[in-house]
């Protein structure tokens, strides 16, 4: 597998991964901007509006039909948040030409179609069509409102709101409903133009096309990309809690069948010189796997929950643990989560736990190179990091992580927020009982 990195235009870089191992090729364009509550929803809506029609394929039927003809290739809108940066654009995937009938080629045409949608939208008088903008805006608003339908994911959003109040990290990549409501075709056209003129762009390709063929497609397509002064992206702000910081506890009542408990910590001074491999192994020992302390103790030994897991966001320097419980088990579950973190802090990590966690991380890095999707997702995260490393380099670093490294991380971790989403039906019942008393 050959990886090549090169700059194509000011602020536009290509990461090219050449392999003939896969049946699927992937090509993605990631347009980056600082997460901002004034533009997050607009940025999120732009790819959806662009997918409604281009100059050459002005309607969605034609676009869908063109993709179907190209053996079910896909071009999907993307919107991700990494640290405090928003990434929007398109992700396309297509069957590798060698598996299609003799002479059929879809990779290059799909890439051209992607740029057609991105750079030559269906406009009227130079403005994005009002009909498309309004329709996609309204759908986006509904999608924001529907986040409540999945209570586990919604609890995570509510925790972020509380824990990161005043920080860009609290902003959802979807933005808010009020911001989305303010979108109109005039405003969105302005934001779209500014984005493609000034935003840094990462392009990732993973597939069997020779680089010269890809470069010739890109040179032609990017000729119409207008570039002015490229914006600098602010670094994700990492907060170091002061010594007198008092952790928050937040209870909220929702119509949920199951109570959702989420705990958020900051990684503290460890983030002054963090090590990715150690963080991955730490998460695996704490709650990242089925052999982790949280899974084995809170679920298997104490039977308090069905799902429990932890997650580290290395870009922001934060750790989360979440589970679905009965409200009666809140104290028991919370104190066991703390106990397990304390155990790591004291270095109480068995040989089995250490070995299982390292093996799990090694295995997940070794399998990255087995799919074009996981390869491009890995590369995207590496591009956002200060140091670009390959999966095999990372898997070797994981093998050198020691229990002392993990104890060091746990020792630096500072509790920030405990969030519990309670069932408002039970809560109301409880209140009624109190009133009757």
């Amino acid at each position: 597998m050959l990886i090549d990195k090169r700059d194509l235009l000011p602020g536009v870089r290509l990461i090219y991964v050449n392999t003939d191992k896969f049946k699927t090729g992937v090509f993605s364009v990631w347009i980056k901007s600082a997460l901002d509550s004034n533009t997050a929803a607009a940025h999120a809506v732009i790819p959806h509006v662009l997918l409604r029609g281009s100059k050459s394929l002005p309607d969605m039927e034609q676009i869908s039909a063109a993709l179907e003809e190209m053996y079910g290739s896909s071009i999907s809108p993307i919107n991700r948040k990494i640290g405090e940066t928003q990434y929007v654009g398109f992700l396309s995937s297509f069957p590798d030409d060698k598996f299609l009938p003799e002479g059929t080629k879809v990779a290059a045409p799909v890439i051209s179609l992607l740029f057609d949608l991105l750079l030559r939208p269906n406009t009227h008088g130079g403005l994005l069509l009002q009909e498309y903008v309004n329709s996609e805006r309204d759908k986006h608003i509904e999608q924001i409102l529907s986040l409540k339908n999945d209570k586990g994911a919604y609890a995570q959003i509510r925790l972020l709101d509380k824990m990161f109040e005043g920080e860009a990290y609290a902003i959802s990549a979807m933005g808010t409903a009020p911001e989305a409501k303010s979108i109109n075709y005039l405003k969105l056209t302005k934001i779209y133009r500014e984005l493609i003129q000034t935003a840094p762009i990462d392009i990732i390709y993973c597939g069997s096309m020779p680089i010269d063929d890809l470069l010739s497609v890109l040179t032609e397509e990017l000729a119409v990309l207008p570039r002015t002064v490229i914006k600098n992206l602010p670094e994700t702000e990492i907060k170091f809690p002061s010594e007198d910081f008092v952790p928050r506890t937040v209870f909220e009542d929702e119509d949920t069948e199951q109570e959702k408990l989420i705990v958020g910590w900051r990684l503290g001074d460890y983030m002054k010189n963090p090590d990715l491999a150690s963080l991955m192994v730490f998460n695996s020992v704490f709650g990242g796997d089925m052999s982790s302390k949280l899974f084995v103790n809170v679920r298997e030994k104490m039977s308090l929950c069905y799902n429990i897991s932890s997650f580290v966001d290395r870009f922001k320097g934060v750790l989360f643990a979440s589970c679905g419980i009965s409200e009666d088990d809140y104290d028991a579950a919370l104190s066991e989560i703390f106990n397990q973190l304390d155990a790591i802090r004291r270095g109480e990590i068995s040989e089995f736990e250490m070995s299982a966690a390292i093996q799990s991380c090694v295995s997940s890095y070794r399998s990255v190179a087995d799919s074009a999707y996981s390869m491009q997702s890995f590369i995207l995260n590496q591009l956002a990091s200060s140091q670009f490393m390959l999966p095999l380099e990372l898997s070797e670093l994981c093998m050198r992580v020691t229990p002392a490294d993990l104890a060091g991380i746990a020792d630096s971790v500072v509790l920030d927020t405990v969030y519990l989403m309670r069932d408002n039906k039970t809560s109301e019942n409880a209140k009624d009982t109190d009133d009757n008393d």
Binding site: K148, K151, Y306, N307, F352
Partner: protein, 424 residues
């Protein structure tokens, strides 16, 4: 005898063997890949609640197949998770209506992980204490699903569609039904269904197929055991028992699911019907269809409209659904589209295009090791030749697809379930 099948146009090769004890083994060899996946699957799912073993009729509580799946991870030395974890494997399992499967992914130590998989699935070890403990975990899993509105809506629809078939009972069972499950129930069901002749081992990765066959021969019991015969209840008529249910729920916009029963199928007929239905529904209700684009543009469909046919033991079903501010307008447009197909058939050009797209989707699904292992196990249980669907594309035309829709999806047979947002 080992059978080797090469599919050059797909870049696939399969090694197939059936052991003397009846275990079917299918290995998809993937040179140059680090990942390796193994599935040990049982032709046993939640709908096989009632069954005959020998002369005896056994009625088990709802949710046993799933409960068993959880509890098999215990063995006399503790949990098998540890053995997998030490060899870098992430094990998991699932129970569906018609299959229970135990699987792992790893990059190293495949042979050791395969031995762990084969041994633990064939070694039942249950105590009343451990069963009682698991109940707490499964109760939380039930509550988690009860909070997922798409699952609630589907369950409401099934209760309109089915009178006798156990598909209307939740896979996990209920809090009440799992309270009736004891260690004995689990032993009985394990011995009834976990016979090698009722199971399949499927593997994908850069592995030595002979080593897989040898391991399976060494670690599964020799000899055929008597097969349990499931009873799916009195055969259903195609009409629903109730045509519509509407309930209030904590959803942001109305959620619509609807469907009808279709005649069950088996073997190669099932494979063909599944492929024909996928192409036909793609052409009529897919993303480039006038049905979808018109509703999408008018805001009647928000994100997507899904429609598919699913065949289960003893039944088949057509299901469709979406989120819509006005579910009745979607249903109206659906009925008009059906009428149009009845009168004019499916356009030949639309069909050609959707056929190419479906071929691409199927080809690319061969990239996922999990998906290959699942498909190979499904082929073994349903009795069709694996990967044979690719050869069917050329012979499928718009007449067959139109006929399929007209014969199977009848407006009068449809049942509808809607979840409406609570007024507050």
């Amino acid at each position: 005898m080992i059978m080797i099948k090469e599919y050059r146009s797909l870049g696939e090769s399969l090694y197939i063997e059936t052991l003397d004890n009846g275990l079917k083994i299918l290995v998809s060899v993937k040179p140059g890949f680090n990942s390796k996946t193994a599935f040990f699957a049982v032709n046993y799912g939640s709908v096989m609640q009632n069954f005959t073993l020998g002369e005896k009729l056994i009625k088990s509580p709802a949710g046993v197949a799933h409960f068993l799946e959880h509890k098999l991870f215990d063995n006399p030395d503790g949990s098998v998770d540890g053995a997998f974890a030490l060899n870098g494997a992430s094990p998991n399992a699932f129970t569906s209506y018609d299959m229970t499967a135990y699987h792992f992914d790893c990059t190293d130590n495949f042979d050791a992980n395969l031995s762990t998989l084969l041994s633990f699935v064939m070694t039942p070890y249950f105590t009343e204490e451990s069963v009682a403990k698991e109940r707490g975990i499964i109760e939380q899993e039930i509550r988690m699903w009860e909070g997922r509105m798409s699952s609630v809506n589907l369950s409401n629809l099934y209760s309109c569609m089915y009178e006798n078939h156990p598909v209307a009972t939740p896979i996990l069972g209920t809090k009440q039904s799992i309270s009736e499950i004891t260690a004995d129930t689990l032993y009985t069901c394990h011995s009834a269904f976990y016979n090698p002749s009722n199971m399949a081992l499927t593997v994908a990765g850069d592995v030595d197929p002979q080593a897989v066959f040898d391991a399976a021969r060494a670690l599964t019991p020799a000899g055929f055991a008597e097969k349990a015969l499931p009873d799916y209840g009195h055969p259903e008529v195609l009409a629903p028992i109730k045509s519509r249910v509407t309930k209030d729920a904590d959803v942001s916009a109305p959620q619509l699911v609807f469907g009808c029963k279709v005649m069950p199928k088996e073997g190669s007929a099932l494979l063909r019907a599944s492929l024909v239905s996928e192409i036909a529904l793609g052409a009529v209700f897919g993303k480039s269809s006038p049905f979808y684009t018109t509703l999408y543009k008018s805001g009647m469909i928000r994100v997507g409209f899904s429609s598919y046919i699913d065949y289960l033991p003893g039944t088949g079903m057509f299901l469709a659904g979406c989120e819509s501010p006005e579910p009745d307008r979607v249903l109206e447009s659906f009925a008009q589209t059906l009428q149009n197909i009845r009168e004019n058939g499916i356009d030949k050009r639309d069909l050609l295009r959707v056929k190419a797209a479906t071929y691409g989707y199927k080809l690319r699904s061969l990239e996922s090791f999990d998906s290959i292992c699942y498909d190979l196990a499904d082929a073994a249980f349903c009795g069709y030749e694996p990967l044979s669907e690719f050869a069917l594309f050329d012979s499928i035309d718009s007449d067959e697809c139109s006929r399929f829709i007209c014969d199977n999806i009848l407006s009068d047979n449809l049942a509808v379930s809607v979840l409406m947002p609570k007024s507050n």
